[in-house]
Amino acid sequence: VTTFGQAAEAHLDDVYAYLVYFTGDRSAAEELTGETFERALRLWHRFDPRRGSARTWLCQVARTAALDHFRSERRRARREEIYGRGLREVDEPRFAEGLSPALERALARLSAGEREVIALRIVLDLDGPTTARALGISPTACSTRLSRALEKLEEALGDHVAA
């Protein structure tokens, strides 16, 4: 039987990586990771290993926390009238150490939803059905979303090479 401590130790990096790609902001991902595990600790009694792995369940909790974060950010942006300004350009790596600047910029041009599916399927290497369950969509929709995200990523990389 997996304890919460074991699950947290084993999947902390997964949750963090997912949130980094999802939010596109490493400091926000750090905060959300901490919040995710606090929520997960409170909700651990609801975790049912027969319905999915601890990693998938933790990603679902992280997703809820991230969506709440996006909603509050949008409200804040509206209040501060900076909504629509888009993602800020940064010099330091936003996603991961070691990524090429071209890939960093290409990822930054993707939406949160597109980065999310790349994070789950490519970075965390979850299978299609598990990713679909984590996102609350059908496996077909998940596959379509991944294809579009990768096409967009390739396109963005092509634009960078051409430039």
Binding site: D13, A17, G34, L41, H45, E97, G113, E116, G158
Partner: protein
């Protein structure tokens, strides 16, 4: 998906973000300081247990109540004489009992006694089974003998004897002072299939007639003291006739009350067995299932539209939430 060189997917996998040490320490501290709360009973789990339990309790309750009522009624029929029922008109009736044992009447415990001081209209009914047509004839003769030996007489006798089968209906009049003995002796003529006793108090009516007669007689005395005009004479004549009519009625009521009417039915036919559905250990279960079915159908009819509306509202809410989520993620 094919990608241009360098392969970004390989690059993404090779450079997975790693949680900073501070975040790792924070999570470790979190898990160490606060153990995960124990698994609680959720409402869904509780419902899964409570719903069948409630249904089982209701079914059991109906089943036990149904069986219990039947058992109590049967016990009462066997162990006790049928209870008396008083009606507003002063009638006391022992209801028909299809299973009253012979002992109940044989020891006179089941036959209400006549009140010695008040005038009462006493009626008793007995239904007896005898073995064959000859026994019907013999029992008829003995019943008449019983009535005569107690100072009574037969009012009507109707005997139909077909040899093997037979029926007889007797109406006997016996003095109310001997009615208990008469019923006890008559009930010994066969196996009792049913009995009924009805007692109606007529003393109140007789007293009222007495008061009315006394009033009319006072009025007569007053009229006779007056001058005997034609009008007074006609009044005296009318009142005299009314007094005589009332006195005849009173006398008839008193005569009626001095004798009890005992109706006896003799038959060779066996009583029909009770309906199968009224007995058996599964009756309660069927009753419970029927009521549960009725309740479920009622709930379906009443709650169905609300359930459909609820489902539609939930689906609409989920679609709206997903669209809002998609817009949120597309703009973030």
């Amino acid at each position: 998906v094919t990608m241009s060189q360098p392969d970004p997917l390989t690059e993404l996998r090779a450079n997975r973000p790693v949680a900073p040490a501070a975040l790792r320490d924070h999570v470790r501290l979190l898990t160490a300081s606060r153990p995960a709360p124990p698994r609680r009973i959720t409402w869904r789990r509780g419902l899964l247990v409570l719903a069948p339990t409630a249904v089982a309790v209701v079914a059991l309750g109906i089943a036990v109540r149904g069986d219990g009522t039947h058992t109590r009624a049967a016990d009462q029929a066997v162990r006790e004489p049928a209870p008396l029922t008083k009606t507003p008109a002063g009638t006391v009736t022992v209801p028909f009992s299809a299973a009253t044992p012979q002992a109940a009447l044989g020891d006179r415990a089941g036959v209400p006694s006549n009140s010695g001081k008040r005038l009462q209209d006493y009626e008793a009914y007995l239904r007896l089974r005898v073995k064959d047509g000859d026994a019907v004839s013999a029992a008829t003769q003995r019943a008449i003998s019983v009535a005569r030996s107690l100072g009574g007489y037969p009012v009507s006798v109707d005997v139909a004897n077909g040899g093997r089968d037979g029926d007889a209906t007797l109406t006997l009049r016996v003095p109310v002072t001997h009615v208990q003995e008469a019923v006890a002796r008559l009930s010994a003529l066969g196996t009792i299939l049913g009995e009924r006793v009805s007692i109606q108090d007529v003393q109140g009516g007789v007293n009222a007639v007495d008061r009315q007669i006394a009033r009319l007689q006072r009025r007569l005395r007053e009229l006779r003291a007056q001058d005997p005009t034609d009008r007074v004479k006609r009044q005296i004549e009318a009142l005299t006739q009314e007094v005589q009519r009332l006195q005849r009625n009173r006398a008839a009521t008193v005569r009626q009350a001095r004798l009890a009417t005992v109706s006896v039915e003799l038959t060779t036919r066996r009583p029909e067995p009770p309906a199968k559905s009224e007995s058996g250990p599964l009756d309660g279960a069927w009753t419970a299932l029927r009521w549960i079915g009725i309740g479920a159908l009622f709930a379906l009819i009443v709650g169905g539209p609300f359930v459909v509306l609820g489902i539609l509202a939930f689906l609409a809410w989920r679609i709206a939430r997903r669209r809002a989520e998609a817009r949120l993620l597309a703009s973030s």
